[in-house]
């Protein structure tokens, strides 16, 4: 029972003072799990709301504004509707895999949330191979999509799932390499340490000069592709495949896929914030001396800005063809990325970092 769980110190000490160590440890884990589930649900619902609102603004519409003030309860009403819907399925499906697929998708995105340092203390699981863990866990999600497409006995779902496989295998590489470029600079995979490095030297996107900016651009492109969002949404391409891999899912199982997509967006944005924009550190140390100021606010402001950028991509660019998707990855992003790593290594070797 000695998993290093960092929670707010006062609660941690208080728990350990009133009960035996093992019981306190278990209580702490339950508390953290509850906190993260709540975060997961709230973030998922409000990202859906934000997406619809932002999409509306891009298209000169108003967006949801009927349920509650400014339509704030719209997505909750939608979730309630989805919970109450019947879970249907098609003929001759692979029952086990069909039911398992949504959980694969949702559990991977939940697991990935655990390693993020939302603030100095609000971090569930601070392991020294945090970045590696993130890359590894986020690639499991595609198994859920593949299983969902395969088991629903529907050709559109299968095509969507296969496209997802192609896409994730390709773009996983770019995400990994662009993270690696930044890891060269930090010399550490531990997320809290990556942020500590930025406290003294400034945000990593500034520390790393041009290669860091190139790495950021590649990371954003590949990250958008990994979350299966437009312009890389061949997986669910509404005009071609119905709804892609989740065509045959209904009710809450569909909602799991849907929520996981938005949480994946949050995860990609959080990685970008930690790696390039200093995590929960305030810009130029504005709130450095103010002890009561919640650092978590800075983290979420930065994450929201990155998410807004991804939404901006989504509502601007048209969908890529499969061959264009692969050309972009293998002919452009990958070679640029490899050159970029060498470039970064030279900069570090010559000690040009700020």
């Amino acid at each position: 029972m000695s998993i290093p769980l960092s929670i707010t110190k006062t609660i941690h000490d208080w728990l350990f003072s009133i009960m035996p160590e093992s019981a306190a440890s278990i209580t702490e884990m339950v508390l953290i799990a509850t906190a993260y589930l709540i975060l997961f649900a709230v973030a998922g619902l409000y990202l859906v709301y934000l997406e619809r609102k932002v999409a509306a603004w891009f298209q000169l519409r108003l967006g949801p504004n009927r349920v509650g003030p400014l339509g704030l309860f719209q997505t909750m009403a939608d979730a309630l509707k989805l919970v109450s819907k019947e879970l249907t399925s098609t003929d001759r499906i692979d029952k086990l895999l069909y039911n398992l697929a949504p959980y694969f998708v949702i559990i991977t995105s939940l697991t990935a949330l655990a390693v993020f340092p939302f603030s100095k203390q609000f971090q569930a699981f601070d392991i020294n191979i945090g970045m590696f863990f993130l890359i590894a866990v986020s690639s499991i999600g595609v198994i859920g999509i593949l299983l969902g497409g395969w088991s629903s006995n529907n050709k559109y779902a299968l095509i969507g799932a296969m496209r997802s496989g192609v896409q994730t295998i390709s773009y996983e590489l770019s995400v990994g390499l662009s993270i690696l470029t930044m890891v060269l600079l930090t010399g550490s995979l531990q997320l809290s340490e990556i942020i500590e490095i930025q406290r003294t030297g400034g945000w990593l996107i500034l520390q790393g000069h041009v290669p860091a900016i190139i790495a950021f651009m590649i990371f954003m492109i590949a990250g958008t592709a990994e979350t299966n969002r437009a312009p890389f949404d061949l997986v669910e391409a509404e005009s071609e495949l119905g709804a892609g891999f989740h065509t045959e899912y209904s009710g809450m199982k569909f909602a799991y896929f849907f929520l996981a997509e938005f949480i994946n967006m949050l995860i990609i944005a959080s990685i970008a914030v930690v790696l390039f924009f200093g995590g929960w550190l305030s810009p130029f140390g504005i709130t450095e001396g103010i002890t009561w100021f919640p650092e978590v606010l800075w983290f979420f402001i930065k994450v929201l800005i990155i998410i807004l950028l991804m939404m901006w991509f989504r509502w601007t660019f048209p969908r890529l063809r499969v061959d264009q998707l692969l050309t972009l990855e293998w002919k452009y992003l990958l070679p640029i990325n490899l050159v970029n790593i060498v470039f970064m290594a030279i900069i570090i070797w010559l000690n040009w970092t700020i």
Binding site: V54, W57, F58, L60, R61, W312, F313, T316, Y332
Partner: protein, 158 residues
């Protein structure tokens, strides 16, 4: 070296697209095209080219411009217009002259194609901009366009 110029042009065009949508995003609150219809029922005004239904405008002395030539009836592709006409003695010239009794318009059948209005030589019928055309009884959709007791304006036929 088209490889690098491709990258340059690609990024440039992407940024161009993003600036266009970014402009929309910033101005969206002012220029939203959404009409929140039942709420703004009192102030909502349809634009001039909106095709609500066909009407026949009458002036203050209850005179319309329809001569009863039936060109609109012939032009209508699905028979939405029926004209019941008669011959009467013209007061000025004392000659027999065609005049309309009823200009019947079936809004329920109308496809809003506008051929009747284009066909009309005297601009007797025009588009109205009203948009609340649903009723509970379809007989209400059969309308008589000329008002009772109206007559054609003098000098229209010439």
């Amino acid at each position: 070296m088209s490889y690098f110029s491709d990258i340059y042009n690609g990024i440039k065009t992407l940024l161009t697209g993003m600036s266009v949508t970014g402009h929309y995003f910033v101005r969206a609150r002012k220029g939203a095209i959404t009409q929140q219809y039942p709420d703004n029922r009192d102030t909502l005004k349809m634009f001039d080219r909106f095709r609500g239904e066909v009407i026949m405008p009458h002036d203050e002395v209850n005179e319309h411009r329809c001569t009863g030539c039936q060109k609109c009836e012939i032009a209508c592709p699905n028979g939405s217009i029926e004209i019941i006409w008669d011959r009467g003695i013209d007061e000025v010239t004392g000659k027999k002259k065609k005049k309309i009794d009823k200009h019947i318009y079936h809004l329920a059948m109308c496809t809003m194609c506008g051929l009747c209005i284009e066909a009309c030589p005297t601009d007797a019928i025009v588009w109205a901009q009203n948009y609340e055309n649903s009723v509970y009884d379809r007989t209400q959709l059969t309308k008589v366009l000329n008002q009772p007791g109206s007559k054609v304006k003098a000098g229209i036929e010439d």
